[in-house]
Structures are given as C-alpha cells and as structure tokens.
Symmetry: C2
Subunit: 470 residues, 2 copies
C-alpha cells in the first residue's frame, strides 16, 4: 500500500531534530537506550520498536514547537501517555521522536455546576478521581489500567462502566490538539451540546495519534451515586447469562456495570483467592441510584436471573460486602496469569451486537478447547464486548502462531456477526489488517483521505491504524 506508508527519516534530518531538541529541552530530552526502550510497546507479543529519542513536554506550546521541528524535517512523532496500550500504539516502526506527555498532569479546572473538568493529557483517571473526591463527582470511564486520559481519548477507551456511562466518545466534551503542521486547534467550546460545525472532537477521539496530539481535554463528569449495590449470580452456561443480560437491558434496568466471567476465569479466581464460587459462568453487576432504587434494581435483576436459571443470586449495598462480591472481578487478571506460570497473557478483544454475544463466545470457547489453549474470557457483556486472554509460552514460536491464528478467526467471526475487530483496545499495529474486512475499501479510502489531507507527510504515529500493509 503506497498512499500513506513511509520510510524512516533521513539520518541527517533526524540528527538536526535531535540536536535542536537537546539544546532546547536539556534534561527533558533523552536518547538513552533505557528511556527509549521504556517508551515502546512493552505489554504484549508485539515486538518493541523504540523511538530514536524521547522528549518530555510540559505544555501545548511545547508540543507544537516539537511537532513543527519534526514536520520541517519529516521526522515521525509518536505521543506517549502511560504506555498501557495493548496493540503497539506507542511503537516507533520508522523511528522518530516520542513526545512523553506524562508531565502534563495538571487538572486545570473543575466546574462542579457544569459537571465538567479541564485536564492535561497526562492526568490518569486515578489521579482525576482522587482529585474529585470531595466534589461529589467522578469520571466514570474505567479501562482497567490507570491509563492517561489523553491516551484513553486517543484509543476511544471504555471499560466496565460503559453500559451506563458510555465510552470516551461520550465523555469528552472538547479537546485541544496539535496538528501535524503545528497548528493548535480547540475542537469545541464547553457547552454540553452543539450543532456548530463538524464534530472534530469525535474525529480525534479514537484517532490513535495519527491526526495530531491531544494536549488538553474537557471531560464530562458524573455525580457520584448516593447508593451503590453489587451483585453476583452464576448461570448454567454463557447463553443463559447473555439472555439474562438482554432481558435486563430491555426492561430498562439502568445497570451501571454488568460483567461476565467464564468458568475458566471463575476457577482461576477460586484457586487464586479461595473464593469457593460455583465454577460456571458468572455475572457480576453494579447498580447506582438511591438506596431504595438500587435495592429495587437488585431485586428485579434477581427475578430476571431466575427466569434464565441463574442462581444463587447475592447482592449487597454495604461497602465491605460489595468488595467481597466483586473480588472475583478485581482478582481476575492476576488469577489468570497464575493459571500458567511463566507464560504471558496476550489480551485481545472483539465486540458484537449483544444478540450474537452468546454465539460468539461459545464458538470461541469451542476453539479454545479444540486447540488446548489456556484462554480465560471476561466480558463487558452489556455492550457485547469481550476479552480473551490466551496465556502463551513466548519462547514457543509454534504456539504463538497458533494463538495468532486463533485471534484471527475470532476477529473474522465477530465481523461476520456485524461486530467489530476491537471494542476498546484499538487498532494500533496488530489489528490493521482487519480494517478492510470490517469497513470495506470505500470506507477505508475515506479514512485514508482524511489522514492524508491532515497529515500529508505521514509524520503522526506512522505505521498505525490505516497502514495495514506497511
């Protein structure tokens, strides 16, 4: 594919950029092997591809200055938040300059009456919620890792709360971005809605650093619910659990979280945390509302669960009991790691219309069994989104290949069900090849046209998302 692939920068051009940055940023500029390595993809099977240098920016203007310098010399620019991406987003396949935004961690304003805040991109969701503690408000998007909010916007992250509170697409009101030409754009004002022009906010949310670098965000906040209830309920099989979820949503129960653990994951947490749970598919729920409201919601879900042969159903609105009920979910990641000591998890996700979720999970589980993989499944089941985490011996190329083929078929299956190759992890490097199948060539041509018009020299995070043959 020719239209947006590129080669590494010219060595002399790169040297000029490095020298300028060194002179300008001093100790905030590094070419050390350790720093470069740390600023590449580190979490998955995707090989690490470090940038040529790392610069730690502290303001939008500094980011614009760095981008202009790189643009003049045709040097790639890669934005770095907290490095928690699973799909190689922060790798530098063509070298270039990594801009670390981790020092941009100011919370610039909290408007409690407007239920919004203004933050720099290096603020993590944990930092933000800690800061908000006394305001009665919180930022609901929870992708698992304590990711940076800039990175969460760039990958259109979501997580366990999305069934109630939406994804980053729904919770970014406006953002500031530095374009490949160094222009600084603010996408919208602070009103909660607007019909004034193209929705540039949503164009940057999920653009994975390929159109510009997000340097400020206006985020929507939510009031902390007066009461929270947690609940768990085992089901005889995945299909029964999914049917209960569909009935729950259809009946307008405003569930805040509804998570599925498959029996492999439940067995893992039993072994890891001694929970003594029934080793069958488990739904974990959370309800937000008034004390009476969450009690009523919990009871109603219990009735629905019973209709689908779920049980025993347990719920509580007491903090310590809620922690106990949700312990299985919180311990799932490490419990699954423990299933195969020495192996590494290779996390992947797909998302399908919820009516096809049971089909998709069942077919995936059959293949896991047929291949003899250890691959627990956890799902944000209210959205039709699930994660499979094969535990892989990274020293065994044949096994890695088997798992890659398995992921490949899982993605094809999801797309065949009118779903998507990723609900929340993003495209990065590894899922580029699926975009033609998911979107078709004419839609992909439109995405490439937009990329090319905004970033004609392809300096912004090259080799990601659209360049599937790169």
């Amino acid at each position: 594919m020719a239209d947006s692939s590129r080669a590494a920068a010219q060595p002399e051009a790169l040297k000029r950029v490095r020298d300028s940055l060194d002179a300008r940023f001093g100790t905030r500029f590094s070419t050390s092997e350790a720093v470069r390595q740390q600023h590449s993809s580190q979490l998955t099977w995707i090989p690490s591809q470090p940038p040529d240098a790392v610069v730690f920016a502290e303001s939008t203007e500094e980011v614009a200055e760095i981008v202009r310098l790189c643009a003049a010399e045709g040097v790639p620019v890669i934005a770095y938040g907290s490095g928690s991406s699973f799909e190689g987003h922060v790798n530098a396949p063509f070298g270039g300059i990594c801009i670390d935004l981790g020092n941009m961690k100011q919370i610039l304003a909290v408007h409690t009456e407007d239920l919004d805040c203004v933050v720099q991109p290096g603020v993590t969701r944990g930092m933000l919620n800690e800061y908000l503690r006394d305001t009665g408000l919180f930022f609901p998007i929870d992708p698992g890792a304590d990711a940076s909010l800039g990175g969460m916007a760039a990958t259109r992250a979501s997580g366990t709360n999305a069934v109630r509170y939406g994804t980053m697409k729904d919770n970014v009101i406006a953002l500031t971005a530095v374009l490949p030409n160094g222009d600084i754009v603010r996408t919208a004002r602070r009103a909660r809605k607007s019909s004034a022009g193209y929705d540039l906010t949503r164009l940057f949310v999920g653009s994975e650093g390929t159109l510009g670098i997000i340097t400020e965000l206006v985020l929507r906040l939510s009031p902390i619910p007066e009461a929270v209830a947690a609940a768990i309920c085992p089901f005889p099989n995945v299909r029964a659990a999914c049917d209960a979820v569909i009935a729950t949503i259809q009946s307008a129960l405003p569930v805040a979280r509804i998570e599925l653990l498959d029996e492999v994951t439940v067995a893992a947490v039993n072994r890891h945390s001694g929970l003594g749970l029934t080793e069958s598919p488990l739904l974990l729920l959370e309800f937000h509302g008034t004390p009476d409201g969450v009690a009523e919601q919990s009871r109603r879900f219990g009735e629905i669960a019973e209709m689908f042969e779920g049980g025993p159903f347990e719920w509580s609105d007491k903090p310590e009991e809620r922690s106990r009920l949700w312990k299985a979910r919180h311990d799932a990641y490490w419990a699954c790691i423990g299933l195969r000591p020495g192996a590494r998890p290779i996390p992947t996700d797909v998302c399908v219309p919820i009516s096809r979720l049971a089909d998709c999970v069942e077919a995936t589980k059959q293949e896991i069994q047929a291949l003899g993989l250890i691959a627990p499944i956890v799902g944000h089941v209210g959205d039709g989104n699930f994660h499979v985490q094969p535990m892989v011996d990274m020293n065994n190329p044949a096994e890695i290949n088997t798992v890659m083929q398995f992921v490949h078929r899982m993605v094809e299956r999801a797309i065949a069900m009118d779903g998507t190759c990723t609900g929340e992890h993003g495209i990065g490097q590894e899922k580029r090849k699926y975009l033609p199948l998911e979107h078709g060539e004419q839609t992909l041509a439109l995405m490439r046209l937009i990329k090319r018009s905004i970033d004609p020299n392809n300096i912004m995070n090259p080799g990601k998302m659209l360049e599937y043959n790169a």
Copy 2:
C-alpha cells in the same frame, strides 16, 4: 472567502443533468415552479432559494447515480428530508439538483434484542415510534417537528429528551452515506461500541449535507420506561429555576426532561389555553423509571425546588394528569404565535455551560425588554440550551434588522460564556458568520480542509456551514 465558495453550474451542464434525470426518473423528476419552491427554505426570515429541479430517490444506489451525474457536470446537490430546518439548510443559493429522500421511508429492520433499528433517511421520528409501539422500545430524540431521521442526523438534532438520552450524536450507531464522488460508505458495523478507525459516523452527524448524503441509519433504541411521571413548578425568577436544575443534576436525579418556560411564554399559554398558571418562570419535568422510582424522583425534585423558592410543585404519574401538567409546553409554540397576530416567529437557539444559563437568559431578557420585542423563551435547561422566538412583522425591514442585531448579540454573548452559536438548530446559512468567533481560524481551517478533501468541487450543499462569506 475563496477556498470553498463556488458559482452556479454552467447552464449547458445543468441542462445535460436535467435531461438525463428526466429520462431516467420520469415522473419522479420535476422542474415545476411549485415543487421547486416547496423544496426551499420556507419556515423563517431566510429568503427562499429554490433548486433548479427536484428528483425523488428511492434507494442508496439511485442517490449514488444522481450524485455521480451531478459530479461529472459540477452541478450542486442538496439533500431534502422533511424541510423542517430553521436555518436555510435546504436552500439552493447556487441552484442545482435537490434530492428528495421523503420516499425512502422503509424501516428495514428492528433488532429488539440489540435495541437498535435500521431505517431509510425519510422515515420520520413519528413514523418510527408508531412502528415500534408494540416492541417495548422507542426512539427518544424529539426535536419538536416530526422531522426525518436523515435530516435529524445531518443537523445533529436533539430536543427535550437530550438531558437523559443524548442527541443524534449519541443515538446513531452507524450510517450509510453517498460521497461527492458517488462512493457508498458504511461508517461502522452494528456493535454498540468500537475502537476500529476514525469515527466517520460522528463526522457525518451534523455535517448538514456538505460531505455526502445520508441514505441509511442504524439507530439506537431505548426501552420504554415502565412508569413516567410529569411535574411542574413555578419559580420566582429564571436564576432560581436554573439553580434548581443544577442542583437536580448534581444530585444524580436521572431526570428525563427538564424544560423552562419564561413568564412571557406562561402568559401566552394562559391566554391561549386558559391554564391559569402563575405567570413566572416555570419548570416542566418528566421522570422515567419504575413506579416507585419515578415517585421518589418526583418527591426529591420537589424538595430541591423548595430550597430554591419554587412552588407550588405538582406531579403525577397518571396519563391524563401528565397531559394536563405538560399542556403548557405542548401549546407553547402556537400560544406564542398568538401573541402577535400577523407576525412570524423567527426561532433561534444558543447553548451555554449550565452555570452560565441564568446569566445568559437574564441578559437576553433585558435586551428583549429594552428593544420592546415580543420574544418568548423556552429552554432545554438541563443542557444549557434555550430558544428565543421573536415575533416579527416581516413587512417591516427596520424591525427585521433590529431582530437580526438582537440575535447577533445573543450569539456573541453565548460564545463569550464558552457556549455555542447553536445547540441544535445547526448553522445552515444564517449562522455561518459565527463559526470564526466560536471556533477560531485554525479550527475552522481544519474543517475546511476536511470539506475540501472530501468534496473538492464543492457540489455538496454549497453555501452552507463553512462558507460564511459566500
């Protein structure tokens, strides 16, 4: 402004297109004065600018065929749904071909388990909700008029339910569009969320027909709540009403509708419908939930209202009582028309952060009084969005000019408060001039770059949105 303005098509080119369409579409093609006139802006002070011809399309492929024909000859293309836009969106300042999508009114699928449906763009929200009646689901976006869903997507419409259910941006899962080159793109699959590529759905939502023509939509549906309660409460002044709204939202009360009528509007409905309401600012609310839930929400709002000197507070979950309580809102439009017989309403809207709403409404009302205008105010106050509807003698150019200057200052005031020149009506022709003030030149340059890259010959709804000097 040179970069995207254009002249009318060459007469010979236009003739070739007309002849081709006439031969191809027969009775579904018209150049009659009456039909052309009917397909121009008819509702406001904006002068009517009819297209050269109208063609009634019945499929995506037909739309693509018409667009390719026009593209080859450089002839403008204007999409037409139900013609209910207030801002001149359907006018043809450079002539060209209007594609009427009103015959594309099939509901192609309803997926009750997935809470979504697939519709053609000519389906109106009323038709859709009528069709859904027995499914337990509904489409919540209610902009007032029985607008076409394609037009609602194109203008990013919202309305009274947006505080709970969002706007069109939040309720379009995917769409099909015909691009200026005749390509047909489907922006996303049917999964409820995805991180796979640029958010083309949101790029088309709100693009006002300037990037392509929406020919199919996948819409998110919501479960019909088990119980609905309505409530009304007068307040001593707008500020007290706004403060009650802020407190309501901060306390996590999931209000479904929260509307403000100013005392002028209340007086109008009293006169029109004999309601005998206190003639001071009035909040009207709706709560959705379980029977116990809506009762609790109503009671809690009553307590909040009392804290801000609101009252007497009335609520009910009985259908006939709910209709009585909301009658003031339903009759507001015609009641306001009756305030000045012979005059025409000139509806306009702005939206500000909710903390500034009282300031913005009060300043606007002061100016209304100073100018001696008859201009009732109605607000979707939970979003910070309000409408002013000056009643204007259209035979009095001086008065029209006064009102235009008034609107101008209102928009500037809203933007100065970090708000937007339009919360839901869109830009069309009349608000083009405010985009530089609202977004700044660099952001506007990015919007123009996107327009130019997708529609280099500016055939798609020319003279709208971005071309503020055209």
